[in-house]
Symmetry: C2
Subunit: 114 residues, 2 copies
Amino acid sequence: MGNNKKKEPLCDNIAGEGCGLKKVINIVGGKWKIMILCVIDNNEVVRYGELRRAIHGITNTMLANSLKELETDGLVERKQYDEMPVRVEYNLTKKAKSLIPILLELKKWGEDNI
Amino acid sequence: MGNNKKKEPLCDNIAGEGCGLKKVINIVGGKWKIMILCVIDNNEVVRYGELRRAIHGITNTMLANSLKELETDGLVERKQYDEMPVRVEYNLTKKAKSLIPILLELKKWGEDNI
């Protein structure tokens, strides 16, 4: 009787690393990475210095490391132009762009509920 | 010409605390809180000891603090039954339940993309 439908578990394997949700938290968790994705998404293409100025409180080390990890995880693309001075630009990959609508829903939820 | 539609910014106020997305990250960011929500969601109602056993690696301090914060933020409800020994149970609030579908989408994205 009642709700006998087996509901989809939020996390299939709470102890292991296999859960999709945990993987997401691992690659975009923490406020810096979300903020970096936000700034790039707002601007399409962003130079390193612009990111540094836009994200108050972030250190060079944190920004550089976060960008490197986002690049490794296939969310951010780094393009280097051999001008003088060297220009480095970042944009979101297709994969990261597919994440944006879900982040927008999270944002909406935050506005409505917190 | 082209895409002149002003797109919704992921984060309206990257420097301040006003952004809905940052608020969400602030209250459920970090793997412990997500894992706690997962376990409670999987079981509807969970006792403290069950949570402790289900979440490998979490310390008593981390679990107790995280639960207190989730309670303060209105995501988790704590019920104490004055039996011997005292029984303490946790369940998700309506607010937290409304977040679950978005977390399921994040999970799906993680499975498909990482």
